[in-house]
Symmetry: C2
Subunit: 326 residues, 2 copies
């Protein structure tokens, strides 16, 4: 099996790569080749199969054709301009997130037709809870409308629609997954508005101070990086017929308040660690986060076998096990 990961240099792409290298198979199929692509050259990993890395702008003319020339059996499409940048740079967001995705789908369709339907890869597309926009019900059900309030969410919602239509027409076999906020993100604090959800756990555990810019009653929707990889692998192997025509699924996760996050940290690491969290309200972040989904009823995904953590303590334990070597 030849696997292509587009957007392989990001945090989720790197963890997915490591997992594929460790497993050396997907379901029953041995992996024979893995192509890692991103706008910057992804890091190479030692593997028991052929591994290649490529760097390019996948939305540029002819790039999709080059990337798909060897007809990968499975394509993970993780590439995106993130929310803040897509909001600031309207053209770039649409060029990468919409035109890039569409040109990728169009090239797969061209190969599908040129092969009289013989080439029909599984395409796993990462979408986002950003496809939703308030006002929300207390829990977002699988039948709640996509009414995004950002350009990023709009572009992801359009990607979902294209994925479903191209799949319905038989050009490829697409599965979209809407990831919760991934927590605890490893690495340094970044400027994403969602960054504090991770940093209030990660920094105190590392002996550093963290800033909490919102109040403790803010509720949000989380899953671990390990779950994100598990979602992708399950989406890669799931029986498409069981999914039906609605090809994108809201993934399961943990809904909890910031206060509950902090109590989970206290239970695991004690008061001294929690004391490293400093309250410093930030009106801009408060306003942004106020527009975000708080809770989902991910019934379809659960019934199709997607699994996440069941509480925030598990999320912290996974961070300690995977990033802090226990």
């Amino acid at each position: 099996m030849h696997i292509l990961i587009i957007g392989a240099a990001g945090m989720v792409g790197r963890k997915l790569t490591n997992r594929l290298v460790a497993d050396a198979q997907l379901g029953e199929a041995p992996i024979t080749r893995l192509t890692l692509h991103d706008v910057i050259e992804p890091a190479r990993v030692e593997a028991s199969f052929t591994m290649e890395t490529r760097a390019s702008d996948f939305s540029a003319a002819g790039e999709a054709k080059r990337l798909l020339a060897d007809k990968p059996d499975l394509i993970f499409h993780l590439a995106a301009i993130v929310s803040g940048e897509a909001e600031d740079d309207f053209d770039k967001g649409y060029r990468i997130n919409l035109n890039g995705t569409w040109s990728l789908f169009e090239e797969i369709r061209a190969l599908n037709r040129a092969s009289a339907g013989a080439y029909k890869p599984r395409v796993v597309f990462t979408s986002s809870t950003g496809v939703f926009g308030g006002p929300y019900p207390p829990r977002i059900m699988d039948e709640f409308l996509q009414a995004p309030l950002t350009s990023y969410g709009t572009q992801k919602a359009i990607g979902e629609l294209l994925l479903a239509d191209y799949t319905r027409k038989g050009f490829f076999d697409g599965i979209g997954i809407r990831l919760p906020t991934i927590c605890v993100r490893p690495g340094k604090p970044n400027k994403a508005a969602s960054g504090f959800f991770s940093s209030i756990i990660r920094e105190p555990l590392a002996g550093l101070e963290a800033v909490l810019p919102v109040s403790e009653d803010v509720r949000h929707w989380h899953a671990s990086p390990r779950s994100a990889v598990a979602f992708l692998l399950h989406a890669a192997t799931i029986n498409g017929d069981a999914v039906g025509p609605r090809r994108t699924l809201s993934m399961p996760g943990v809904s909890c308040t910031v206060g509950e996050q902090i109590e989970a940290l206290r239970n695991i690491a004690g008061d001294a660690v929690v004391a490293r969290i400093r309250r410093e309200p930030d009106e801009k972040i408060i306003r942004i986060v106020d527009g975000w989904p708080r809770d989902f009823d991910a019934r379809r995904a659960l019934s199709l076998g997607f699994k996440a953590e069941s509480n925030f303590e598990d999320i912290i334990r996974i961070h300690i096990a995977d990033e802090l070597r226990g």
Copy 2:
């Protein structure tokens, strides 16, 4: 006020034109100029203001720029490849319904930016109940997801998303309206799967036989051509702030079964007219219609002042008044 109608040669476009010519104003604003555009030259109508007609493919390179060169104050975007053709000709449907719409929006954005925001027209976009796909709840609420089961529905759903995002960013002021099936359509029977909803009323009233290809318990969602025009005019003048960020609205209509349509015809025209309906089940049409929405709770549109008929007899009476001269 300068008004541009794209897709002016279709049935709704022609009725809208006639209404604008008769009113010679929109809200309080006198109409000074009306530009009618379609892929075939729209018929000219005598008017008290400047009237011009243009024929071109609005999705072709440079066409949106030419169409918008004089910066119309109000743009009705009614142009579309219809459902059946978009399903048969995938490329054409996406080229017109998605690329054409997007290039139109992009050109308005370019003019908006070049004028530092001074040019910000109202854009009225006709969408469709085809953005929905089953399984449906008994009535489709305003918060039900868009999960289309046709390429046409996909393209319209994407148009809705773009309309909302470009409006949110302030590039124009868009309102989308999802039209019910327009009934009774004037003219000859056509091959649209929905054609029988009109022909079982229109043909018997004209002394002709009509074919009913589905059973009488099929339920569907209707509004008259007169209501369609009223929806467009209300969308052109409504206060955009009252609409909020969800810019496309499911229009009100009449939900009734084919049996109720026939009883309404009997009440108005008698048994001899109803006897001209011949039952001839058509498995293909039965299957297509089975996937269509049956009933809506168009609460938002109603609260914003959109009005439709309240029963099917009214729909027939409007057909008699407007098409059969009473």
